[in-house]
């Protein structure tokens, strides 16, 4: 997992729970003197460990924690890469361009980012169907990112998750309904 994701988690934990908590999490789950740098890759297990402890500290389930983190992550990334987000005029436009535009931009910045495959199609005027595939199975984080994107565009959305890789499906289907 790329360092930028860890850096976002670091910011979220420090802003909400303070530096001590973050230090404790690092001590518990990471090698000594771990410093996250956005462009480098770190073991996925570290993120899972950190996220598990965060979910316990917040008394939230793992999916809820990942959703909350995803929502925060969108704002974090949008703040760092304003020019990319400004290319999109609407929520729908951004969502359907994830694979073609957003992920292409990520490929330019980071070596082997191991991105998920996202296929988003407009189903009708108010619905987008998004298929998520990744061996990491971070579909709840993807849900959070979509909520974060909706917040950015001041949209109210609802996401249904009828097919999920965590239930043995090959891919996740997210049905996004927006106003």
């Amino acid at each position: 997992m790329k360092g930028i994701i860890f850096r976002c988690l670091e910011e979220l934990v420090i802003n909400t729970k303070g530096m001590d908590v973050w230090e404790q999490l690092l001590e518990k789950h990471c090698p000594e003197d771990r410093v996250y740098v956005s462009a480098r890759s770190y073991p996925d297990e570290e993120l899972v460990g950190l996220a598990t402890s965060v979910s316990q500290a917040l008394n939230l389930s793992m999916p809820e924690t990942l959703k909350a983190f995803g929502t925060y992550l969108f704002g974090f990334l949008a703040k760092r890469h304003t020019s990319i987000v400004e290319e999109f005029k609407s929520f729908e436009q951004l969502i359907i361009s994830i694979d073609d535009v957003i992920h292409q931009e990520v490929q330019k910045l980071y070596e082997e980012p191991n991105l998920p495959t996202i296929e988003a199609k407009i189903y009708d005027e108010h619905t987008i169907h998004l298929v998520y595939r990744s061996p990491r199975k971070l579909c709840f984080c993807a849900e959070g990112l979509i909520y974060g994107c909706a917040e950015h565009f001041n949209k109210t959305i609802k996401i249904e998750h009828p097919l999920c890789m965590h239930n043995g499906e090959k891919e996740c289907l997210l049905k996004i309904t927006h106003s």
């Binding site: 910011e11 530096m19 956005s38 462009a39 760092r80 330019k108 910045l109």
Partner: protein, 317 residues
């Protein structure tokens, strides 16, 4: 504690800024790399076009020899077909006779009578022997022509990719075969073992060896014209180190002025008179060998002529 937190925030801001700078540079590097890849693709396409046009130029050089090689079998094919045309009427007479007999138009006695009459004018024993010779000769002639054309096509036909593993000896022999006519007046010694494998484009390596041979032949002809030698000689040897084959083409030709040697692989550089040679011959050889992770060097021999040394990596398979 508040001071520590402030210090942390300052350090974090510094880290953010450095990371943004890194991302900016990475992004620019990516764009430059894309541009570079596009240019590399164009360059590779142009290189293919240059090699192809060099092949066409070589075909021009080879055409007289090829015409001669095809003319020989064609001459006896024509001659045999003329003989066959001559025999055609006799064979037809026999076949017509047999056909009439099987259809019941002739009795046994009539058939024997007419066969005897026919036999008085035709030597059937000679005819059957001749027919077999004609068929064998025609097959052999067609085989030779088709072999020459196959060799030419193998060499000249543009291919998207003909990457394969092949023997050094095979390419040397293919080049010699294509240059058969040009090499007739040359005392050629080719010392190459079997089982020395390289990988890459067979037709391009053939092209490279042809260009080296053509230069050697021309250098020998010039030396002969100037009375420096009485017999043109080219010797090809193949040696090996642990990782590569060293192929040397040694001639007893006119040699190359020392000042020209450093320019000899430059495109459009030619020591030949204006209008002769494209000046691309050795530049193309250099390009082909570089593409195969090989190299070429050239030195004047102590006595006379030039030795061209080609190094090609051994095939890994």
């Amino acid at each position: 504690m508040q001071n520590y937190y402030k210090a942390y925030l300052r350090e974090k801001a510094a880290r953010d800024e450095v990371e943004l700078l890194l991302e900016e540079k990475t992004s620019k590097l990516y764009a430059l790399n894309v541009e570079l890849e596009k240019k590399l693709t164009i360059l590779q396409q142009q290189q293919i076009a240059v090699v192809q046009s060099e092949k066409m130029a070589t075909l021009g050089t080879l055409s007289a020899g090829v015409a001669h090689e095809i003319n020989n079998p064609l001459a006896y094919l024509t001659c045999n077909l003329e003989t066959f045309a001559h025999y055609k009427d006799d064979i037809n007479s026999y076949l017509t006779l047999m056909s009439r007999y099987t259809e019941g138009d002739l009795t046994d006695e009539q058939l024997i009578d007419q066969l005897k009459t026919l036999n008085q004018g035709i030597n059937t024993r000679e005819l059957t022997e001749d027919l077999e010779d004609i068929a064998n000769d025609c097959q052999e002639g067609c085989g030779r022509i088709s072999e020459i054309i196959k060799n030419l096509l193998d060499f000249a036909k543009p291919k998207q990719s003909d990457e394969s593993i092949f023997e050094v000896k095979e390419v040397i022999e293919h080049a010699i075969k294509l240059l058969e006519n040009k090499l007739k007046q040359v005392h050629l010694t080719s010392l190459s073992e079997e089982g020395l494998f390289i990988s890459g484009s067979k037709s391009n390596i053939t092209q490279a060896f042809i260009n080296i041979f053509v230069n050697a032949v021309q250098a020998c002809e010039e030396a002969k014209e100037k009375g420096l030698i009485s017999q043109s000689k080219i010797t090809v040897t193949v040696n090996q180190t642990e990782s590569e084959y060293i192929i040397e083409f040694c001639d007893n030709g006119i040699g190359i002025p020392e000042d020209d040697i450093s320019h000899i692989f430059e495109p459009f550089y030619s020591t030949k008179p204006l209008g002769e040679g494209t000046g691309m011959g050795l530049a193309v050889v250099y390009g082909i060998l570089s593409n195969h992770k090989g190299s070429i060097s050239l030195v004047n021999n102590i006595d006379n002529g030039v030795t061209v040394q080609v190094k090609l990596p051994k095939s890994k398979q």
